[in-house]
Symmetry: C2
Amino acid sequence: MTGTATLAQIARAAGVSAPTVSKVLNGRADVAPATRERVEELLRAHGYRRRRGTGHAAPLLELVFHELESPWAMEVIRGVENVVREEGLSVVLSESSGRLSIGQSWVDGVLARRPTGALLVLSGLDPVQRAQLTSRDIPFVVMDPAGDPGQEVPAVGATNWNGGLAATRHLLDLGHRRIAVIAGPGRMMCSRARVDGYRAALETAGVPFDPALVREGDFHHEAGYVAGLELLRAPDRPTAVFTGNDLQALGLYQAARELGLRVPEDLSVVGFDDLPLARWVGPALTTVRQPLTEMAEVATRMVLDLARGNRPNTLRVELATTLVVRGSTAAPSARS
Amino acid sequence: MTGTATLAQIARAAGVSAPTVSKVLNGRADVAPATRERVEELLRAHGYRRRRGTGHAAPLLELVFHELESPWAMEVIRGVENVVREEGLSVVLSESSGRLSIGQSWVDGVLARRPTGALLVLSGLDPVQRAQLTSRDIPFVVMDPAGDPGQEVPAVGATNWNGGLAATRHLLDLGHRRIAVIAGPGRMMCSRARVDGYRAALETAGVPFDPALVREGDFHHEAGYVAGLELLRAPDRPTAVFTGNDLQALGLYQAARELGLRVPEDLSVVGFDDLPLARWVGPALTTVRQPLTEMAEVATRMVLDLARGNRPNTLRVELATTLVVRGSTAAPSARS
């Protein structure tokens, strides 16, 4: 009885009634924990999958962020809203409070709500949680996977490596040779890919990679400021910095201002994301555009497609990043 | 049968069965439109109010924005999440697509979801929609009311008038006399209150109010840029501008940069809101802090309190605004 186990078979194997299995499937609280665990194990072991009846799922899309601090999140929310509005669905918003994995309480809530699907932004499910959603036939997609989401998990990202390459080549083309990089957190695959693109650009241009010019920090303003002060106070300071994202770039702007260095005359800066604020700051920020709103739209459509029972042609989609040149990059000055 | 009408009485008056009234109450689609309308009218006419049974409402809080464009919205979402996380509720996020009123499709969705309550940010309900939520015993609170939400609607705002007063007094104290104001949309009460505070500061300081120094625009960057160019290109340009919000202030920064004017040497700028980006820009922005996250927390607690059947001590709460002085304001230079 693998793959096609029925609810009645699961109930028999667990030694409980069919309504009890049904309660577990629907995330109801009135089941003894030991019973719940036994039923969940059997659901997993037998690859049980609830049949998707029409009208059974609620017109809800679950949207989970690992944190809501950044203006980044707003771009994603807008993309999701663009799609669900057309489809008559509502969004249930959750935050995993800075953890990259999702708590069990979220999964319990989802089982009770029976949403049409879920979109996880930089937040991962463990294999048990994944099996729980699968057995209830709740499809999910991961956007911009922080780690490796697993081969079988549908995911939407951006071409981070290409973005790192394009940003660094732009600086090399302007004549920079001492180019530093401030990376995002190393546990996130997107950070690693960007730094690898930076390194590839240097090496293909015959510029040696210098570990002293690499800093790591989280994706906030403060990290760019702190790393920026370190890099710019060094005796042999870089003439250009490729930052992990636009917020870090603003932190670097602040560090430069405090040290009396002008952007772009004394220091060129390239960001990543192209948030609205990249256009608003002075000088306007040269940055690698990551199409966050479009990525969210694609990911949301993928969830809805899976919910209709369509298997996507590909489980991985990477949208293109593009370099947007503005006022924060220029040729290094003779003094530098 | 006013005030205490039962479901059976409503059914009898409408000439339908009690289950049909129940379907209308729960926003179910399988009721003829004419029947639905007749039942809704009777519910309204008789002041029907569903009794709040324990466990009847879903652990959902509805959160509605009129638009999600601004980083402003993120501060509010964080406040709401702070409270609902403690309470084990989830947030259903909706956007009224730039309209200040809410569409009927949202109300229909809410009736079907039976949430614990609703928080409306700058979005208003019409009297019929209000009656629909009231008859289902779904409490709602308005945050930062755009218009006049009506005496009986619980609302949370900020002391906008005081903020306008404090911003303008700060500029007067620095020695400015030609002080312009860029207002938000006039249909929003918060904009009007800020401009009235500005005017009161001028008049109590004996500085005549000059209508030529007043501009109006929406709350986006572009509006500050456009109004800024107009004001700064005038022959007798202002030495200081109080803007409607931080995004407008950044638009004004850009206008000043393009005209070769330095902030604060040639132009002092005061914003409103104190979004995170106010600290990140150069020079850091002097602004009126509106405690958006705290306002959202207070409003969310108010909804949950109402859902527990507690009537709040006051239906209107205004949290204090505070002036935060940073680098964008200084005494006018002799040249100006």
